[in-house]
């Protein structure tokens, strides 16, 4: 039997799993929307935190609070981090934008960085990554490797960031395989392994052989791995993290996020007093995204093509949404010879041609 005291300790440990270190160095706080876990959005941010801590040696200490709900509770957590001694706070989910801004105005001598939002201030920066660049390359691989010409996409919510991924994947796939189509299942949840798995299996049973996802668990890659055993044509692309542990043979590659260099750079700037504001949306060029190791099943010519196109994207010579970009209903969104602007990317609310599903209405 567990004693009441140890139960209390357990609860305490589970609720406030924060890392606390003492000393004089600059303290950097992180607010995470979900548990760190072993893969996914928050896991990548935590890898970035650890890298930054390592790179800056004894100059910084870090502290994180995980599983913080978006909304009013976030403000309390951010304030607590500041009053607990943090000079810099990174808030890593869209819903933290307003609380972050509010606290940043209350503490003008501290520094705040918010991921994926759009509000900035004298002491508040914003950062995000061009995940769609990686999606495009995954699409290229899918287009080359598909036998059924159908890809399946398990998606969470129809917001611009998710649509950018679906559309970039489709653009990439169709750039090498005009017959290909992408089917989307919305599970209306960021995290429900059971539903994600069912959606992946549904897509596979309906003929999709290239599976990817924009949800938070590893269930989709795992489901593809299971089906790969019976049908060697079935492959998956991971998202957020390298999930090859869950799909050693089925995962072809995946779009992974790398925040470490950015965190190191910006914390250095703040400590040196040279920080002049951040509004960074980085991709391959800035090293904020990377493809997971390529599966040996990918033929050499496809591998070479992907490496070439990745260089072109990083060098600005290729854009996943280079015109002509045509929406599903036939309307031209970007004219030939032009690239989609960041503002247009940020307000994406349509499917491009090649997506075979219907977009949920607003």
């Amino acid at each position: 039997m567990i004693s009441p005291k140890s139960v209390l300790t357990l609860i305490g440990g589970a609720v406030a799993s924060t890392v606390l270190l003492a000393g004089n160095p600059t303290q950097v706080g992180f607010v995470y929307v979900s548990p760190v876990g072993d893969a996914g959005w928050t896991y990548q941010h935590d890898l970035g935190r650890k890298e930054m801590e390592k790179a800056l040696g004894g100059q910084v200490t870090t502290k994180f609070v995980e599983n913080v709900p978006e909304g009013a509770d976030a403000e309390r957590v951010i304030r607590n981090l500041i009053t607990g001694g943090a000079n810099i706070v990174f808030t890593t989910s869209f819903g933290y934008m307003n609380p972050t801004e509010k606290v940043s105005r209350a503490f003008p001598d501290k520094f705040f960085f918010h991921a994926t939002g759009y509000k900035t201030g004298k002491n508040m920066g914003v950062y995000n990554a061009r995940f769609y660049e990686g999606r495009y390359l995954c699409g290229v691989i899918a287009g080359k490797m598909t036998k059924s010409n159908v890809a399946g996409y398990v998606a969470a919510f129809p917001i611009p960031e998710v649509l950018q991924g679906i559309n970039a994947f489709t653009q990439g796939m169709r750039s090498v395989n005009p017959k290909a189509e992408v089917r989307v299942i919305w599970v209306n949840a960021w995290f429900d392994p059971g539903k994600e798995r069912e959606a992946a299996l549904t897509l596979i049973s309906q003929g999709a052989d290239m599976i990817t996802h924009h949800t938070d668990s590893t269930a989709v890659v795992q489901a593809a791995e299971e089906k790969h055993k019976a049908n060697k044509n079935i492959y998956a692309f991971s998202y957020h993290s390298d999930m090859s542990k869950y799909g050693p043979t089925a995962q072809l590659t995946g779009t992974t996020h790398l925040w470490g260099d950015f965190y190191t750079k910006v914390v250095k700037e703040v400590m040196a007093g040279t920080w002049k504001g951040t509004n960074l949306w980085g991709g391959f060029k800035e090293g904020m995204i990377k493809l997971a190791p390529l599966n040996p099943a990918i033929p050499a010519d496809v591998k070479a093509l992907v490496e070439k196109e990745q260089k072109e994207i990083a060098g600005g010579k290729r854009h996943p949404f280079a015109g002509p970009v045509v929406a599903q209903d036939g309307k031209e969104k970007v004219a030939k010879g032009k690239n989609m602007t960041d503002a247009e990317l940020g307000s994406m609310d349509y499917y491009v041609q090649g997506v075979a599903s219907t977009l949920p209405k607003k």
């Binding site: 357990l10 609860i11 440990g13 589970a14 609720v15 548990p35 876990g37 072993d38 599983n67 159908v150 399946g152 129809p158 189509e181 089917r183 989307v184 299942i185 919305w186 599970v187 209306n188 949840a189 995290f191 429900d192 392994p193 059971g194 539903k195 798995r197 069912e198 959606a199 299996l201 549904t202 897509l203 049973s205 309906q206 999709a208 668990s217 590893t218 269930a219 795992q222 489901a223 791995e225 299971e226 542990k245 869950y246 075979a356 599903s357 219907t358 949920p360 209405k361």
Partner: protein, 310 residues
């Protein structure tokens, strides 16, 4: 619909419904004895993490499921001590158990988050699984799917055909009367709560060892609450619990097949996602709308504490 597609839809429906059936049937027995245990979500989480951990260490899914069952019973015991011995409010104790269970499971599960279990081979029922279309749909499942059917038969037989089941229902209907003819109400309720906990633990074990063979915090994702709702909407009748669970699973799978088919439909996906909940509630309310049967089947003393001394 193509036969292979129909087969796939039925197959996925049965799998999706299984954890709900096992958990809900356990809860049904608990509630029939007059105890409302709202802790299913927490118990399932604990069952899932215990089963996963034991399967990782021993490599045996059977031991894993047994561990999930044991952990579920331990959770049931906590609830029983609080609400039956100390007569704490059942609703409050149940809710507390849910929150506690989810948090404790996350804590225990930390070291297991990086591990994955191999997916389990299905057990094919000899001969029957060769029937075209239906063979794959019904007879190529994991053991716990068959277990859920056996459980339904056992619970229905126990409640309506066995003497002990009659006593249990009497305790749920009129604990004072049952007490006055010499039955130990508290002990019977203890047993019912432990059974409910054990089944919720097995439901959780199904999720982490068979359904998605991994452990992550929050993976039960509301299935405990859905099971609780199923019991009420099925008006405490075992067969309807199963119908409700399959309806829920079926609606979820069907809407996914519709989305994944690439057919152009002008239905918002959010509506499709809400459909399983709506369909289950509507159908169960319709088939159970007779006021008399509701009165007959709902345990009269549900949620009320009983003290033999009073």
């Amino acid at each position: 619909m193509q036969p292979s597609l129909l087969s796939a839809v039925i197959f996925a429906t049965l799998v999706a419904g299984t954890p709900l059936i096992i958990t809900a049937l356990g809860e049904l027995v608990t509630e029939k004895s007059g105890v409302l245990n709202l802790g299913a979500e927490g118990i399932m989480s604990i069952g899932a993490v215990a089963a996963f951990a034991v399967t990782v260490h021993t490599g045996s899914p059977l031991l894993g499921v047994l561990a999930g069952m044991g952990a579920g019973m331990a959770m049931g015991l906590i609830f029983a001590v609080a609400s039956l011995t100390f007569m704490a409010n059942q609703v409050a104790s149940g809710l507390a158990l849910s929150i506690f269970g989810v948090g404790l499971a996350a804590f225990i599960g930390k070291p297991y988050e990086s591990q994955a279990l191999p997916s389990r081979e299905a057990i094919n029922v000899p001969l029957l699984h060769k029937i075209p279309v239906l063979g794959h749909a019904f007879f190529e499942h994991q053991a716990l799917v068959y277990f859920s059917w056996a459980l339904l038969a056992a619970v229905a037989w126990f409640l309506y055909r066995s003497r002990t089941g009659l006593v249990l229902r009497a305790v749920g209907e009129a604990p004072v009367a049952a007490h006055s003819v010499g039955y130990n109400v508290v002990r019977i309720r203890y047993m019912a709560v432990l059974f409910g906990g054990a089944m919720a633990g097995v439901g959780g074990a199904f999720l982490s060892v068979f359904y998605t063979p991994l452990w992550v915090e929050g993976m039960v994702a509301g299935r405990g609450w859905i099971s609780l709702a199923l019991v009420v909407f099925a008006t405490w009748r075992p067969m309807r619990v199963m119908i409700g669970a399959y309806l829920f699973g079926g609606a979820m799978i069907t809407q996914m097949f519709v989305q994944g088919s690439g057919i152009h439909l002008n239905i918002p996906a959010q509506f499709l996602s809400a459909l399983p909940y709506a369909a289950t509630v509507i159908v169960l309310v319709l088939i159970s709308r007779n006021k008399n049967t509701i009165r007959l089947n709902s345990p009269a003393s549900l949620g009320q504490p009983f003290s033999p001394e009073a």
